[in-house]
Symmetry: C2
Subunit: 248 residues, 2 copies
């Protein structure tokens, strides 16, 4: 459908995945706008994975491997774009996947759960089968979460997050790892680790890193996690966005 | 529907207008992504109209008032967000409005034309009633335009444009005035005047300016248009985006 010679070909293919997600009932209409916002930041980054994003991926892998109970949170855009890698990481870490949506509806949760399907297997905590709990301090329906999933997690990977939830989970003592292309967002600033990169580029990297670092001794992982400075990463991302622009 | 206390209230209201546009068949699904991209650039601008945008609005008003045959081009997002101001400007300039879509379908063109409705009156060139022509050098269906409209125009206001069309129209000798929040886009760089501002903020300003400057002598308008430097405006926009970020 998309012309491979179009200067924005890669970006158009990703868009098609999302508009297809809308047709399947996975992606919300507002999710498309959120994606567009991410696209702009990615554009300013030159649509490549920068060293600061690689260091965030490293730290994310370390935190996930060190945690007692990591959980991967999925929304509609993440499912449409990167579900295979979420499942892959859940398998490597032997941890649960939970669908958690800003524009929540029971139907959409189930559609996404069915989309993840058998590939996710026992890693997927199906909403209909588990007890819920409410995370305090979140205005949206995102506050409703599975007790055995995000409820009990000590480390949560939250792609394409909203600021409220990131803060609320941090306040509960959870380690939040966010994937967010906007270095100025409330999420980016309040997460312990912010991967400022396109989800379609960083998720394969994260899966690789986790598999590789699984063999690392605990002390080495601890060193990586302790030395990681998220404020510095945000600073570097802002600089990269300006650098790119000023050199055009 | 949207909570007025939400930190992103204004942005959410604009989004609702667009998602409503999707329901009405005016806005395309991809238009939502494009909007999100604009949102991010607006975010970096601090969501306000900067002096460089005001000077572009001034120049745009001068070019439109000086031209023999100005035409206002409308797409789905522009119709959903700012149709009242397009109609207002068409009346002040006594010039035509033409619907021109990237994701073209006869049905969507007609839906937008009906949405503009009687308020647009004789200013709206209805697609079904006019002879078409093709603008060379455009890959998309945007190449098909009305001969009596954009075809013969010497100055075209093109909000939320795509780069191809902007260049092709410029190559035909038309003065292109673009509204584009991305200062690095091909459109922003190839237009004679680029208003780097949110369409919902700059369209009311543009209508006001045109009404005010209509009384200006031709020599004064010529001076404004001649002195306008689009490269400088783009530079200032990039600087503003970085300034905002570095001061966060």
């Amino acid at each position: 459908m998309t012309d491979p010679n179009h200067p924005r070909y890669f970006s158009l293919v990703v868009r098609e995945k999302l508009t297809n997600g809308v047709r399947l009932g996975i992606t919300s209409i507002s999710g498309l706008i959120a994606h567009g916002r991410g696209e702009a930041f990615d554009y300013l980054l030159g649509e490549r994975t920068h060293p600061f994003a690689k260091s965030a991926v490293n730290a994310a892998a370390a935190f996930l491997l060190l945690s007692e109970k990591p959980v991967l949170s999925l929304n509609g855009n993440a499912a449409a774009l990167s579900s295979a890698y979420f499942i892959k990481i859940a398998k490597i870490l032997d941890c649960p996947l939970e669908v958690n949506l800003y524009h929540h509806s029971k139907k959409r949760v189930e559609t996404i759960e069915n989309f993840l399907g058998e590939k996710a297997g026992r890693h997927l905590l199906k909403s209909s089968k588990y007890e819920k709990m409410v995370i305090p301090g979140i205005a949206s329906r995102r506050k409703i979460t599975i007790r055995e999933g995000i409820g009990k997690a000590d480390c949560v990977l939250v792609p394409l997050e909203d600021g409220d939830r990131c803060r609320a989970m941090t306040a509960m003592g959870k380690t939040v790892i966010a994937i967010d292309l906007n270095p100025l967002s409330r999420t980016a600033r309040s997460a312990r680790v912010t991967i400022i990169d396109n989800i379609v580029r960083c998720m394969p990297q994260l899966a690789l890193k986790i598999a590789e670092m699984k063999k690392f001794p605990r002390s080495r992982l601890e060193k990586i996690s302790k030395n990681y400075d998220n404020r510095l990463v945000i600073k570097q991302a802002l600089k990269a966005m300006c650098y790119h622009k000023n050199n055009e």
